[in-house]
């Protein structure tokens, strides 16, 4: 790793101040992606601003109406243990391994927007709102292609709010070496319709499969998606699976998620 200073502010406003002064700074969540990246010398900030010392950014809160709010610096392990919300605790419980889940955070995962990460699928399908130090961003506006989000330089995800949902389920086809999703599909049935979000499959990162949403709005059953074609043009193709294989998995996993929801 190149040399850098590490700061551990305890308040959001102090972190924002550190991230916006003249020293080239980068926020540090749980570090489960950023620290390996630094070790490979793929990033060289002058300063890291750790967000895990900010208590107001931690915790899982449910209100009576079924809305769930999770602090940006909340670990996957805490979400797995405390999120009483369909699909979400199971998703968190199967990220990485136990030691990774004890460090990695929901805000870090979303800000990184890895094309094979699990949380982006949940946030997009559940129509969650990303809360930052400056504003609120709708899920549909947040994800802007792999490793790209609507976040401005130095903007911090302070919380994520998930509206009440009728039913939801996440199906992850595990890439056993990386423990990321080879393909993951999150299906959510809302009062105003079904949303289907796919991770791991596309070169553009997480996306909504609108043909499946339309079909499931008419008939919420696995059969409704069985006859659909998944466009495989922009699917990720690598040594773990071809684009056509991933496209096939998208359909299979969507059917399984609907059956399990």
């Amino acid at each position: 790793m190149y040399e850098f200073d590490l700061e551990r502010p305890t308040r959001v406003e102090d972190a924002v101040k550190l991230l916006s002064d003249s020293v080239e700074s980068q926020p540090l969540g749980g570090g489960q992606t950023l620290i390996p990246t630094l070790k490979q010398r793929l990033a060289s900030p002058e300063r890291l601003v750790s967000l895990t010392g900010i208590d107001s950014m931690k915790g899982v809160f449910t209100d009576r109406g079924g809305t769930l709010r999770i602090g940006g610096a909340t670990t996957h392990a805490e979400v797995a243990a405390k999120a009483a919300y369909p699909g979400l605790s199971e998703l968190a419980a199967n990220i990485g391994d136990p030691a990774v889940r004890n460090r990695g955070t929901i805000g870090g995962s979303l800000a990184n927007n890895d094309p094979a990460a699990c949380y982006p699928a949940a946030v997009l399908a559940l129509n969650a709102t990303i809360g930052t130090n400056a504003r609120e961003i709708a899920a549909d506006d947040f994800f802007q292609g792999m490793f790209t989000t609507a976040l401005e330089e130095g903007e911090i995800i302070t919380n994520v709010t998930f509206p009440a949902v009728r039913t939801a389920n996440y199906q992850k086809f595990l890439q056993p070496a990386s423990r990321f999703a080879l393909v993951g599909v999150f299906v959510a049935k809302h009062d105003d319709g079904v949303r289907v979000a796919v991770t791991g499959a596309s070169n553009d990162g997480v996306f909504r499969w609108s043909a499946a949403e339309e079909a499931l709005n008419g008939d919420f059953s696995p059969d409704a998606v069985a006859g659909l074609d998944v466009p495989d043009g922009d699917m990720i193709s690598d040594l773990h699976g071809s684009g056509a294989y991933r496209a096939h998995l998208v359909k299979v996993l969507t059917g399984r998620a609907v059956a399990a929801a």
Partner: protein, 161 residues
């Protein structure tokens, strides 16, 4: 350099570290606690698992400064007060849960974290929990047996396989 203070195996320790100093490096190089092994250094193998405020973490993927004020537990703190092996360590010996022993500190620390949150795990739960700990010798069979035994459960079913 910045000063860091933490409690390691019940003893207060401090040192001067760089921002980039990993917890694993601080434990091994500053405190000479070399039982925490660096296997892959890419947070995949789990040989460096320690406890920070009671939770299993990979010491190679956390900065020493992030453990400021924390209670850190390493393999050196696992033995009983009289120096004898604790129940997990003894079970690893009894059931040959190691061959070369390189992964063992991480295995024992992960097992301890598992048994704290789930005192009677099933074989499947043990295998699921150990997904972040890689052993290249044993095929995991005897490690799983050792953890079943350490939790006071019958190992005969798995032993018969």
């Amino acid at each position: 350099m910045a000063k860091v203070t933490m409690t390691v195996n019940g003893k207060s320790v401090s040192g001067d570290v760089e921002g980039r100093t990993l917890l694993s490096a601080f434990l091994r190089e500053d405190l000479n606690l070399t039982g925490t092994h660096i296997g892959c250094d890419t947070s995949q193998c789990g040989a460096c698992v320690v406890h920070v405020d009671g939770e299993a973490v990979k010491a190679c993927t956390m900065f020493a400064l992030e453990a400021e004020g924390a209670e850190v537990g390493t393999i050196e703190g696992q033995a009983n007060a009289d120096g004898s092996l604790n129940a997990i360590q003894q079970a690893f010996q009894d059931h040959h849960g190691l061959q070369c022993g390189f992964c063992t500190p991480g295995m024992v620390m992960s097992a301890a974290a598992l048994l704290k949150e789930n005192p009677k795990p099933s074989e499947a739960e043990i295998r699921h929990y150990l997904e972040g700990n890689i052993c290249r010798c044993t095929g995991y069979h005897n490690i799983v047996k050792a953890i079943l035994a350490a939790s006071g459960q019958d190992v005969s079913a798995i032993a018969a396989e």
